[in-house]
């Protein structure tokens, strides 16, 4: 999902860079006020850990392999503000050390993966944690949040490509979301498995979610994340009506669609008057909704299968 330079135009690159810098400034300010000094080295080490964890290849069918992205893992282990800074550090190093992700596109990459991915993921994580209490709830929340976070980041990426005029939204949105709905399943599974492994050894390292000293600030972050998510959806929905157009164009180019130019533009309101799932837009929206529900059910099932037994022994002694 690392966008290289040369794809985004200047207006997209500068807008996303401004958004990322302001979000990052807020996160850094909150950390300066609230982060204990002894947690600073942990942030550096956590960034190095995420980078290393992304290099572990999990085998998928047919010789391909996937790897962790880690936004929600960072949220669960460090909290949203620190996660945002750590993800930014990872992206900066990938850009400046590996040439993975462009310099001009850095703002966009940080926005997708460190801002949208982290804030969206942490909002979903906190919301589900509140609904489903206990360790099983925590795992379900982490799984579902990492699924949502990956998907949201890919939608952000698609929106930027479309806004740059490189690819029409009607093409890039379905292509990116379909691929990333599957990639996100892997991300959810890996994140949950890693959290289970950490819970087994050092449950104290997983950030407690229930009672926190600055619940008001957390609620603020959650509200902002939720608002960003809803905003993104609102941003996405008007474009969703161009789906059939995009797909039709693919058909035309490949030579099995209706003749070019033969289809009159439908009135936008016509689709809303159709009952049931008459229009392609409604059908695709429904597909997205059902997909989300299925992902949530899968997250709950995964959590139920992986949750440690209630009689988990005391954590082993901690070395200072």
């Amino acid at each position: 999902m690392h966008v290289p330079d040369g794809l985004l135009d200047l207006k997209t690159a500068s807008t996303t860079a401004a958004l990322s810098v302001s979000a990052l400034a807020v996160a850094l300010r909150r950390l300066r006020l609230g982060l204990p000094r002894r947690r600073v080295p942990l942030m550096g080490l956590a960034a190095a850990f995420l980078f290393t964890a992304q290099m572990l290849n999990f085998p998928v069918a047919g010789g391909t392999s996937g790897h962790l992205l880690g936004a929600v893992l960072a949220v669960v282990l460090l909290g949203p503000s620190a996660a945002m800074v750590v993800m930014t550090a990872v992206l900066l190093v990938q850009c400046l050390l590996f040439a993975d992700g462009g310099l001009l596109a850095l703002g966009a990459n940080v926005f997708n993966m460190a801002v949208v991915g982290v804030l969206g993921g942490s909002a979903v994580y906190r919301a589900v944690c509140r609904v489903l209490p206990g360790r099983r709830g925590l795992l379900a929340a982490a799984a579902f949040a990492s699924w949502c976070s990956t998907l949201l980041a890919s939608i952000g990426c698609a929106a930027e490509l479309a806004w740059s005029g490189v690819v029409p939204w009607g093409l890039v949105f379905p292509a990116m979301t379909t691929i990333h709905m599957l990639i996100a399943l892997g991300e959810a599974a890996i994140t949950t498995l890693v959290i289970v492994a950490i819970l087994r050894v050092r449950p104290d390292l997983v950030e407690p979610t229930g009672t926190s000293p600055d619940a008001r600030a957390l609620r603020l972050v959650a509200a902002f994340g939720l608002a960003a998510t809803i905003g993104l959806l609102l941003f996405a929905l008007p474009f969703a009506s161009s789906w059939p157009d995009g797909l039709e164009r693919v058909g035309q180019v490949l030579g099995f669609g209706p003749a070019a130019g033969g289809r009159p533009l439908p009135a936008p309101m016509a689709e809303y008057r159709l009952p049931g799932l008459g229009s392609a837009t409604a059908a695709t929206s429904a597909a997205g909704f059902v997909g989300t529900l299925v992902a949530f059910a899968l997250a709950c099932a995964l959590a139920a299968a992986l949750a440690p037994r209630a009689s988990a022994g005391a954590p082993p002694d901690r070395r200072a």
Partner: protein
């Protein structure tokens, strides 16, 4: 253990390597902006940028095979977007533009990263007034990246030598355990590092 897999060529000695990091960072950004902003009608400008990059690559003594290898490794996403963009009016032209522009930008970034040591980039970031916390996190991350990659390789070797199960579910579970263990170890290491930093007068 290989400790140079990340920035293998950034410590060579050449005029390009000796140039100040801030200048190179600025030039790389300017090149990216130029590649994006130049309209396709002025294709000669893109050719000129390509020629300049080739000169820089030759002067930097970074092996061409390395640059080409990285290009091939990083190109797929741009190629995918180009493939998608074919399906629109005037798609072929857009696709060619995407491939040319992103290849030039990728070559710029590969040359920047393989001629500039990361420590100098950090110094530049600090001079650019990037917040101290972010620079500290970056510095710590760069310093311990090699240690953690080493540790992960050691753990993977240990796992391989003790188990030969080929089942995929088993591989996932053990890889995830490895990652979890790696985080536990890094957080314990962070505590020791904090103590060491305090002992040496970190304010």
């Amino acid at each position: 253990m290989r400790h140079d897999f990340l920035d293998k060529w950034s410590r060579l000695d050449s005029p390009i390597h000796r140039a100040p990091a801030g200048l190179k960072l600025g030039l790389a950004l300017a090149t990216a902006v130029a590649c994006v902003a130049v309209p396709l009608a002025h294709w000669w400008a893109l050719v000129a940028i390509g020629a300049c990059l080739a000169l820089v690559a030759a002067a930097s003594r970074v092996p061409p095979s390395f640059v080409l290898g990285r290009l091939l490794l990083l190109e797929p996403l741009a190629a995918g977007v180009a493939l998608l963009s074919v399906f629109q009016p005037d798609g072929a032209r857009v696709a060619v533009a995407i491939v040319v522009r992103s290849t030039l930008c990728l070559a710029t970034m590969i040359l920047l990263t393989s001629t500039t040591p990361f420590a100098e980039l950090l110094r530049t970031l600090r001079a650019l007034r990037v917040p101290a916390l972010l620079v500290t996190v970056l510095a710590l991350m760069y310093r311990y990246l090699f240690v953690l990659v080493d540790e992960a390789e050691r753990m993977q070797r240990a796992r391989r030598s003790r188990s030969f199960s080929g089942r995929r579910a088993h591989a996932w579970a053990s890889l995830a355990t490895l990652a979890g263990q790696l985080f536990v170890r890094s957080s314990e290491r962070a505590e020791r590092i904090y103590a060491a930093m305090c002992a040496r007068g970190w304010r």
